[in-house]
């Protein structure tokens, strides 16, 4: 019982070696793929298209075995064997090679799993050999066995005359294959529809990729024929093109291998496209997070980082300082400050390939806007002198307190002047201003009179009208500054004596050359501020920033400043897809000392000279971080390890496609040797025969390149762009898979190239017969042509 199948294995060793190899590759692929995917909780269906493809591939291989054995089957039937016995005999032979391949594949899978796990899983996770991968391989084997059993039916039913005849005539498509054809087309249409209706249903995407490939593969022979007709069109008078066209148009030999090959290519395109696009996304996200080729945390304040870069790299070619304050995950709480004056030189086009391209280009606009801010008067150490007059009609002694808020050496600082002025008189007072060794910027001037007013006595709270005609602080004449009254209704500044109640409520301010006329608000205090356009901090924003009523941004010191929004972009350097970016120097120029949460940093080019680097390190720069490191952190957070299984699927599918074609190449080669012998008998010249072969192979290659490329493109557009490949972490750029992306085009191009080369190699392999193999004398009995 076992001797016959073993004999069969020996006789048909070529085909069985291929079945063995396919079973081996698939079970290794399934085992390792599921092993890795389950370990990271990734979507297991990623191996689904491979399993479906293998089912088709193995079935066409066993069909080929059955074809070769059809004489044997006829004999069995003539001998009157029972159906059961014939079935056993039909299945035993391929079952041996199949099971052998599966077992060997499992052993290899168990051996390979740890290596793949080490390569793809985040550090610290190791894949353990669980029961699932075994179960998956067993299910696969069972599916193939069931489908093979179905192949016995035609063996038992086929007309005996056909089975015993040495010449095999082309058969009409049976009901089953027509049904399969319709099923595949219908299935792929439904799958594509489903993928669009319900994006993120990954298993639909995976399953449909194989169906779509098969559908394209089934159409491929027509395209090949079209190409054949096209290359032979109008060339009937030349023998070689005519022969090549006839072979392509009329031979049925390439349909099956082409179908499997195209399906394999499509599955590979989707799987490989998925891997590449996720890896590109992680790479881009890493670049964006890094902001520049080199990223260094800095031990010190942002101001120190700024000083350090300016000292170590005075020309601003290599390094720029920055700071981040990430309070929480809301974009408005993620603030990044960069020294924009050096951005162009240090970062340049580093982010041009990423989602932060526009954002990165906008940094230059941010720099211009920041540098174009109106100059604010700079106060130095000295005296603050005030002369205040109170209006005559005021009924009591005005008890005044002035507070000058400024930012200087000690950060936010304040100076007081307290002064009591009777109605109709004026008084002068002066205090020392300190903490402005470097320079000070005036933030605001508070004017307070009397006591705070309680709600009940509100109507009794009249406030005096003050005239400040001499206000000088640290060399700045404050009467000539453009002040606005904080919280006042617009127009309040110019309000006359017949001011409305509302105006009295919020106070008034008149700017008259040489003096300021202020009436504090009824509650007792008013604040004079520089106008918003002087204070505003220009920012770029990324993501859905919730600005509230008016755009406002905090400095590294945590001071609120009005924000001037230069633009909103998909992503910004360092900030990612959610956050705001401001110029560091501008933000620091009027800021309290940086809050503890502020992380100073330095961005640098990767060709930064060693001496600059060591100067920065000496000043407090930490170890350089490269974009790759950021990428792998982001990858780990996004769980991209499961996607890497796509490599297994892509490689295994392509190999299965190629191996399946090999089965047919053996047959095509035999047929070709005979045809070649006939042509030699007819004295068709060698160059003509060679030209016909070349034309045929190139046409096939061209057609299969077109089909593969089109099917891959279609599958990627229709399916991959609808898949949810990873969970994008907060504030990371979205994983978009536009069809124009280099990753997808690379995947399609690689797979198309691989398949086309395979067709060319396979074609020439099938066409390349030894001279004596194709000698006319070999055309004898038993090798009947056709």
């Amino acid at each position: 019982m076992i001797a016959a199948p073993v004999d069969g294995l020996r006789v048909r060793r070529g085909t069985h070696a291929i079945i063995f190899a396919i079973a081996f590759i698939t079970s290794t692929g399934t085992f390792t793929g599921i092993g890795v995917a389950r370990e990271v909780g990734a979507s297991v269906p990623v191996v689904l298209p491979m399993v479906m493809l293998v089912l088709v591939a193995l079935l066409s291989c066993t069909a080929e075995v059955n074809r070769e054995r059809r004489g044997d089957f006829a004999l069995m039937r003539l001998r009157g064997w029972s159906s059961l016995r014939i079935t056993a005999a039909v299945l035993a032979e391929p079952a041996l090679s199949l099971t052998g391949g599966c077992v060997a594949g499992l052993v290899a899978g168990v051996g390979m799993l740890p290596f793949l796990a080490r390569a793809w899983l985040p550090d610290g996770t190791s894949a353990s050999v669980g029961v699932w991968p075994f179960a998956a391989v067993l299910v696969e084997l069972a599916l193939v066995a069931a489908a093979m059993a179905a192949q016995v039916v035609p063996v038992l039913r086929r007309p005996m005359t056909e089975q015993i005849s040495a010449t095999e005539r082309p058969r009409e498509a049976g009901v089953v294959s027509t049904f399969g054809f319709v099923l595949v087309f219908f299935g792929s249409v439904v799958g594509v529809y489903q993928a669009w209706a319900d994006p993120g249903a990954n298993w639909v995407v995976h399953a449909t990729s194989c169906l779509l490939g098969l559908a394209a593969g089934m159409l491929a022979p027509w395209l090949v024929r079209g190409a054949g007709a096209w290359q032979g069109a109008g060339r009937r008078d030349a023998v070689a093109p005519h022969l090549a066209a006839s072979r392509i148009l009329r031979s049925s030999g390439v349909g099956q291998p082409l179908m499997v090959l195209v399906a394999a290519a499509t599955v590979s395109c989707v799987a490989l496209g998925g891997v590449l696009i996720v890896n590109q996304w992680a790479g881009d996200a890493g670049r964006i997070a890094n902001g520049a080729p080199v990223f260094m945390r800095y031990q010190g304040t942002p101001q120190q980082a700024l000083d350090a870069t300016r000292a170590a790299d005075p020309d601003g070619q290599w390094a720029l300082a920055g700071a981040t304050v990430f309070d929480d995950d809301r974009p408005e709480s993620r603030r990044v400050y960069l020294d924009t004056s050096r951005y162009e030189d240090v970062v340049g086009g580093f982010l041009d390939t990423t989602a932060a391209r526009e954002g990165s280009h906008a940094v230059d606009e941010l720099r211009e806007t920041s540098q174009g801010l109106p100059e604010r008067p700079v106060m130095s150490n000295g005296r603050w002198t005030m002369r205040v007059a109170v209006n005559e009609s005021f009924t009591r002694l005005a008890e005044l307190t002035f507070r000058l808020n400024y930012v200087g050496d000690r950060g936010a600082d304040v100076a007081f002047i307290e002064i009591a002025v009777p109605p109709g008189q004026s008084r002068t007072k002066s205090v020392r201003i300190t903490g402005c060794d470097d320079r000070c910027l005036i933030r605001s001037l508070d004017v307070e009179e009397g006591r705070p007013c309680a709600q009940v006595t509100k109507d009794l709270c009249g406030r005096p009208k003050l005239t400040l005609d001499q206000v000088e602080a640290g060399g700045v004449d404050l009467t000539s500054q453009p002040w606005v009254l904080e919280g006042a209704a617009p127009g309040a500044a110019g309000a006359g004596p017949d001011a409305t109640d509302a105006v009295a409520e919020s106070g008034t301010l008149n700017l008259i050359p040489g003096r300021l006329e202020v009436r504090p608000a009824r509650r007792g205090q008013s604040t004079l501020m520089p106008p918003t356009e002087l204070l505003a901090l220009p920012v770029l924003a990324a993501g859905e920033v919730d600005w509230g009523q008016t755009p406002e941004v905090k400095t590294p010191g945590g001071d609120h400043r009005p924000a001037e929004l230069v633009g909103t972009y998909a992503a910004l350097p360092v900030a990612g897809a959610g956050g705001v970016l401001a110029d560091l120097a501008t933000a620091l120029s009027d800021s309290s000392p940086a809050v503890p949460a502020a992380q100073a940093l330095i961005l640098a080019r990767d060709d930064i000279p060693a001496d600059v680097m060591s100067a920065l390190a000496a000043a407090g720069a930490e170890e350089p971080v490269m974009p790759d490191e950021q990428s792998s952190n982001i990858s780990a957070a996004a769980g991209t390890a499961g996607v890497q299984v796509g490599w297994v699927v892509a490689v295994c599918s392509l190999m299965v496609g190629l191996l399946t074609s090999l089965v047919y190449i053996a047959r095509l080669r035999r047929a070709h040797a005979q045809e070649e012998a006939v042509l030699r008998l007819l004295l068709v010249p060698t160059p003509t025969r060679a030209a016909a072969n070349r034309r045929e192979v190139w046409t096939l290659a061209f057609a299969s390149a077109v089909v593969t490329c089109a099917a891959g493109y279609l599958a990627v557009v229709a399916l991959l762009t609808r898949a949810e490949l990873v969970d994008v972490p907060a504030n990371q750029p979205a994983l978009e898979s536009p069809i124009g992306s280099t990753s997808l085009l690379t995947a399609i191009a690689l797979v198309t190239l691989g398949c086309t080369l395979a067709v060319i190699a396979g074609g020439f392999l099938a066409r390349h017969v030894r001279h004596d193999e194709a000698s006319p004398a070999s055309l004898r009995e038993g090798t009947v042509t056709p």
Partner: protein, 241 residues
């Protein structure tokens, strides 16, 4: 149409001679000391039981196989050209037909002419003519895969005759044919012989043997009988179409 008439000028140069031909394949003597002359203008039958070496003999005679001993020559030149391809003066009708499956019947016939440099239009015209000789005009456009065995055999005959080669080697050309068609084939081959061509037919059909002028019988690679059936044939010819 020059190439195809090569060698037709001189009758004696169309005589195919085998002298002491022996063929040894893997130590088995397929042909053993075979000497024969196939003369121009005559129809020669080579008969023998299955496996006796008829196909092998025609292959050696037509230059497809190199004899291990002795020579096969056409006129004064050896038919073995060193490549296994036949010389242009020889046209074969193979026992296995040897048709190109992806071509139609007409294209198969025309291909033999086009391989010899005949233009497409001329080749197709002659191909139709040749198919007509075997009553195949109606299947000319069909792909040969779709033809019956007998039809394929007649396509192979049309293809051999269309090139008008001085030597025609036909290996069991009537094995699949009914009587009517067999007679038709015989008369067509006779016409070729009458045009001065050398016609050799391998067969085990006594009717064919009788229709030929000369008869060689083979057994296990050796010549067992040689007879001139000329007289008998001349009589018989009156009854043949």
């Amino acid at each position: 149409m020059n190439a195809q008439n090569a060698g037709a000028s001189s009758i004696s140069s169309n005589t195919l001679t085998m002298e002491g031909v022996g063929l040894d394949v893997h130590g088995v003597m397929l042909l053993d000391d075979v000497s024969m002359r196939f003369e121009a203008g005559r129809m020669t039958a080579v008969s023998g039981p299955s496996g006796s070496g008829k196909t092998t003999l025609l292959s050696v005679a037509g230059g497809l196989l190199k004899p291990t001993r002795g020579t096969a020559s056409l006129g004064s030149t050896l038919t073995w050209q060193g490549t296994g391809d036949p010389p242009p003066q020889v046209a074969f009708v193979l026992q296995v037909y040897g048709l190109v499956p992806v071509l139609s019947a007409r294209e198969n016939v025309a291909l033999a002419l086009r391989a010899r440099g005949v233009s497409l239009d001329e080749a197709e015209e002659h191909a139709d003519e040749a198919l007509g000789r075997f009553d195949l005009t109606h299947v000319g456009a069909r792909q040969v895969e779709e033809l019956s065995g007998g039809q394929m055999q007649r396509v192979a005959l049309s293809r051999a005759l269309v090139v008008q080669a001085p030597v025609v080697l036909a290996d069991e050309p009537t094995s699949e044919l009914d009587e009517g068609n067999r007679d038709r084939v015989l008369s067509e081959l006779r016409r070729e012989a009458d045009l001065g061509r050398t016609v050799v037919i391998a067969t085990h059909d006594p009717v064919i043997v009788q229709a030929c002028d000369v008869h060689h019988a083979l057994d296990e690679g050796r010549v067992t009988t040689f007879e001139e059936t000329l007289a008998a044939t001349r009589q018989a010819r009156g009854t043949l179409p």
